[in-house]
């Protein structure tokens, strides 16, 4: 049978991120997929040589636009562990609230993109309509819609007042109600199920060996969630990883839908237990040492390997983002799939190529 090579990306109406795939197809069945990334490599890791470690929080936040707050938080956590800075508990709780808001908005964004990927435009618009309410909360408390700019080494820069908390609670009730309507369509509608069930099945062993993280791993049955490590306020708020066992795209969609509700619940519990006190401590001196900070981003586990040598510029700053770990799984599942399933498979890992390439 004759083989055709179809170039897919980096610009394509259905592709959410600039990744290039050379799809080798035989009569609409993809035999092999050769990935190619590197279109938006900005060289952020080399910027440590120019910016001092406190200013670098701004660069770390801008590694990604969707998961930006947790990048900043992980960087601050790494530096705080190296310098043994005692961050006040209120700052930990505030970071947790913003981190979970970030997770809700990222998952709603992904739900919209997945609906768009299967052609369900109106569901895409409704998901992003609900996401707007989350972005309004974030803008009112931090000042920015996607780049929050509130994390700093030693704590946070802004506080949330009690009035704002009660407003957040009211909005969360409304967001929860709206999200239930949308996830009901995702999880029960026959046209969505036809596109997602059985597509891109990853067995439990495969997902673990391929180094998957986040919802990719949890939807195949492995209960791994970096929030169990107990960073920030998670030592007081226990998180139970949400898992499914089927390992196909529908299971991943269901895991992400359930995680939205888990995050709403976590925010409510964090607001209930919010301690009083300061929001930051003063930081003096330079870091010296190394640490690997790990947190749970919406897409999975992110690892920040920071090495410092006593000067105000860090020696090495290395980010291993979750999409970097999920890419081999994408390449593996693309072998043997139908051509029409390619956008679903690319979207199911929740790609964030700007994170991957920094």
């Amino acid at each position: 049978m004759a083989r055709t090579i179809i170039p897919f990306g980096p610009q394509h109406p259905v592709l959410p991120e600039p990744v290039h795939l050379d799809l080798v197809v035989e009569d609409e069945v993809v035999v092999e997929a050769r990935p190619s990334i590197g279109f938006i490599h900005r060289g952020l890791e080399k910027l440590v040589e120019k910016k001092d470690f406190q200013e670098f929080v701004y660069v770390a936040e801008r590694v990604c636009g969707i998961c930006s707050f947790i990048h900043g938080q992980t960087y601050c956590q790494a530096i705080e562990e190296i310098m043994q800075i005692p961050v006040p508990p209120r700052a930990h709780y505030l970071r947790t609230v913003w981190g979970e808001l970030s997770r809700i908005h990222s998952h709603l964004l992904w739900l919209g993109l997945m609906a768009d990927g299967v052609g369900f435009e109106s569901l895409f618009m409704h998901s992003w309509r609900v996401r707007e309410s989350v972005l309004k909360i974030i803008e009112a408390t931090t000042g920015g819609r996607v780049i929050f700019g509130t994390c700093k080494v030693g704590g946070v820069r802004r506080d949330i007042t009690a009035d704002q908390f009660s407003e957040i609670r009211k909005q969360l009730d409304k967001i929860e109600k709206d999200t239930r309507e949308i996830t009901n369509v995702f999880l029960t509608d026959s046209s969505v199920k036809d596109r997602l069930v059985g597509v891109g099945v990853l067995s439990k062993q495969d997902a673990y060996d391929l180094g998957c993280v986040g919802p990719m791993l949890r939807a195949s049955g492995v209960a791994q969630d970096t929030r169990k490590l107990g960073y920030a306020a998670f030592k007081d708020l226990a998180v139970e990883p949400i898992t499914r066992s089927e390992g196909d795209s529908f299971a991943r969609c269901a895991v992400r839908c359930d995680e939205i509700f888990q995050s709403i619940d976590l925010i409510r519990r964090a607001i209930d237990r919010m301690p009083e006190g300061e929001i930051a401590v003063k930081v003096t001196g330079n870091p010296n040492g190394e640490f690997m900070a790990r947190t749970e981003q919406p897409r999975g586990e992110v690892v920040y390997h920071v090495q410092a040598n006593g000067t105000k510029n860090l020696q090495r700053f290395r980010v291993r983002t979750p999409t970097f770990a999920n890419l081999p799984a994408m390449v593996k599942t693309l072998q043997g799939c139908d051509l029409a399933d390619v956008p679903v498979l690319v979207l199911t890992i929740d790609p964030c190529i700007s994170c991957t390439e920094r």
Binding site: G38, D209, K228, E290, Q315, R318
Partner: protein
């Protein structure tokens, strides 16, 4: 998150066997990262099982940085090894999916320094519009960083 890092120093020859042992014990590969030190390149492999990290660290001479690939044991390592090659000019032999230097498109080849010349100094390495900018700069590495950073 306050557990100290467990770093095991290892030689290049023993790398693949140790990684196979990690695979048999049920660890998963978390990341591979590299740091350029004066006269050396330091490569760190991280593995994890049940929320505990275990790290391997090896030092390669800057003159001839060569590594065997572990993508035979962990297939997903091919991405990290391509990145090691493209940014640090470490020759990794036998990568499962090899991009031959075309993984990242950078204006300056090997931005973190080649094995024969130190990293380009920060002032000159910032945005160079022509892609034909030479890699080997005659100025010595302006990093006055002691090798004490290797010990955590």
């Amino acid at each position: 998150m306050s557990e100290p890092l467990i770093i095991e120093a290892i030689e290049v020859g023993a790398l693949v066997d140790r990684v196979k042992q990690f695979r048999q014990d049920g660890y998963r590969l978390v990341q591979i990262s590299a740091t350029r030190l004066p006269e050396q390149v330091q490569v760190t492999y991280s593995f994890e099982r049940e929320d505990r990290l275990a790290n391997l660290r090896l030092h390669l001479p800057a003159a001839e940085a060569k590594l065997p690939s572990i993508s035979g044991v962990f297939w997903c390592a091919f991405l990290y090894e391509n990145e090691l090659h493209d940014l640090f000019n470490i020759a990794v032999a036998g990568i499962a999916v090899d991009f031959h230097g075309k993984f990242y498109h950078t204006a300056v080849k090997f931005p973190f320094g080649t094995s024969t010349s130190p990293a380009p100094s920060p002032k000159t390495a910032s945005p160079s519009p022509s892609p034909a900018a030479p890699t080997a700069k005659p100025t010595p590495a302006t990093d006055p960083k002691p090798a004490a950073a290797a010990a955590s």
